[in-house]
């Protein structure tokens, strides 16, 4: 048991999907249930042999609905479990995720977003921001959403996901896209191999009640008072997460006259555009939310007070910008630039957008992805 494939700190060149899968195993994942869909197929492909090496279980389920309910069971038994899919498959899993959120079980799921809506295409996209950050399924619940922007982070975030999921008893996810999944970059796993026998025992799992009171995991609460109390309990938990677990990266923001807010792949494109802009003397900075929920709301609020212009760049049609606009709260001009449907913007076009936003050169009614809000 416990075959450590890569030594901590050793650089290897692998795909983002493989890095995430290996990171999950390294962080203690011992159950995967999933169903194939591009562009995340390297995750189940990798785990289908890798989990056996560490004594884990891999199941290609008959459907996404079955897969997520397998995680419900595995997590209820105390196993660090994982599923992954792309947007359309995550849609199918939302019912189960809602149940798991209500049952307060920790799971790790990943969405390698593809172009949507509908069957869409298999190109990199960020159109599932709402689906991820608003819970996605039915009822009042939240999930922790981490957005990596490199293969390095794809490899290291699973540990963080499991630790947060366990700490708060909550579903937690990695939201990335086909580009981060398919791309190869050097990665070195920065955390020690997790010995699953040393993960603190959980006092809520179903592991046989011999010698103790039986435990019940249930999400049906017919008594409205009981369910309201449960909702308030979840609410308190979400507040605690929002107070403690916000993560973000700021670059070149000190002297910036315009801040780009972008996450994941879009943030990488933005960095190139920012470097180009600065070479031309335009002072642009970047705020990259790493947790999309909880959202770095105070950081946006403070930047909006200090910087006159905020430009939101996303590979979707105005999702992230809603959060930015909410927390900027009218303190800053907000510009939006989006490319939906699987198009990855290039740095030159973002540079063009930066220049136009700096001059507030956006005509009313003009057909353009760039919009002054």
């Amino acid at each position: 048991m416990g075959i450590e494939k890569y030594k901590k700190g050793t650089k290897v060149l692998i795909k983002g999907n493989e890095a995430m899968a290996e990171g999950a195993v390294r962080a203690g994942c011992r159950f995967f249930g999933g169903y194939p869909i591009t562009p995340q197929n390297e995750v189940p492909e990798y785990l289908s042999w890798r989990l056996f090496e560490v004594g884990g279980t891999f199941i290609q389920a008959e459907s996404e609905v079955a897969a997520i309910n397998m995680l419900y069971g595995a997590s209820a038994c105390g196993t660090r479990s994982m599923t992954s899919s792309s947007g359309c498959g995550i849609s199918l899993k939302q019912e189960g995720i809602s149940y798991i959120a209500s049952a307060e079980l920790p799971i790790f799921y990943a969405n390698m977003i593809r172009g949507g809506p509908g069957l869409g295409n298999i190109a990199p996209c960020q159109g599932d921001y709402f689906q991820a950050t608003r819970g996605g399924g039915h009822g009042d619940y939240r999930v922790i959403v981490l957005a990596p922007n490199s293969v390095q982070e794809m490899g290291n975030f699973p540990k963080l996901v499991y630790d947060l999921a366990d700490k708060y008893r909550i579903p937690a996810m990695i939201l990335a896209d086909g580009l981060l999944g398919q791309m190869m970059e050097p990665v070195s796993f920065d955390f020690d191999w997790v010995d699953i026998s040393k993960i603190p025992s959980k006092d809520y799992i179903l592991n046989g009640c011999k010698g103790r009171e039986r435990r019940v995991i249930n999400t049906l609460h017919m008594d409205v008072d009981v369910l309201e109390k449960h909702n308030w309990h979840l609410f308190e938990k979400y507040n605690k997460i929002a107070a403690n677990e916000i993560r973000f990266e700021e670059r070149y923001t000190d002297d910036a006259e315009l801040i780009i807010v972008a996450y994941g792949t879009a943030a990488r494109i933005a960095v190139d555009a920012i470097v180009k802009a600065r070479k031309e003397g335009i002072k642009v900075g970047l705020l990259r939310p790493i947790t999309l929920w909880p959202f770095p709301e105070d950081v946006v609020a403070k930047l909006a007070e200090r910087v006159g212009k905020i430009l939101v760049v996303e590979m979707s049609l105005g999702q992230l910008v809603e959060d930015v606009r909410m927390f900027a709260n009218g303190k800053s001009e907000i510009y939006f630039y989006g490319r939906p449907g699987g198009v990855v913007p290039n740095p030159e076009e973002v540079l063009g957008v930066i220049k136009r936003a700096m001059k507030s050169n956006i005509k009313a009614g003009e057909f353009c992805h760039l919009k002054k809000l």
Binding site: L179, Q182, M184, E185, R268, I269
Partner: protein
Amino acid sequence: MRQEVIISGFGGQGVIKAGVLLATTAMTENKHCTHFPSYGAEMRGGTANCSIIVSTDEIASPIVNEPDTVIAMNEPSLDKFEPKLKKGGLLIYNSSLISKKPSRSDIEIIAVPANEIAEQIGTTKCANMVVMGTYAAKTNAVSIDAIKASLSVVFAGKDKFLDINKSALDEGAKLK
């Protein structure tokens, strides 16, 4: 130093693998690198290409829009990527399979009869290594010796092809 490369061909020519070899070698030389593949659902045939960036500085966007180098292994690849080459960029094309001549005059062009050279060495399957040899020798983006050292990592468990691949790299390097 920064090199943006697109390697393109049909499925089965090893263009993705050649890109992985380039990126792996860059990593062993402690350079930054990204490799992004693009291919259809076919195991053989179809078109495949990959974008590789090798740089001494951090790489932000991994997308290559205007490559410094294009390595075209078949005619559709030449048609698709020659126009995208940066002015003054390098085009290496597989003249064994591409009968027409490249059209641009503002780029440097090297014709490599990769399949013929590969066949002389022993198998057309190493045609991808022939062009890699030409590329590395011409640009010095990575050294030939470092590529050779990476072969056993990228082609793990296939040591019997090691010598063939090394010869292919050397023969390709002569054409720089």
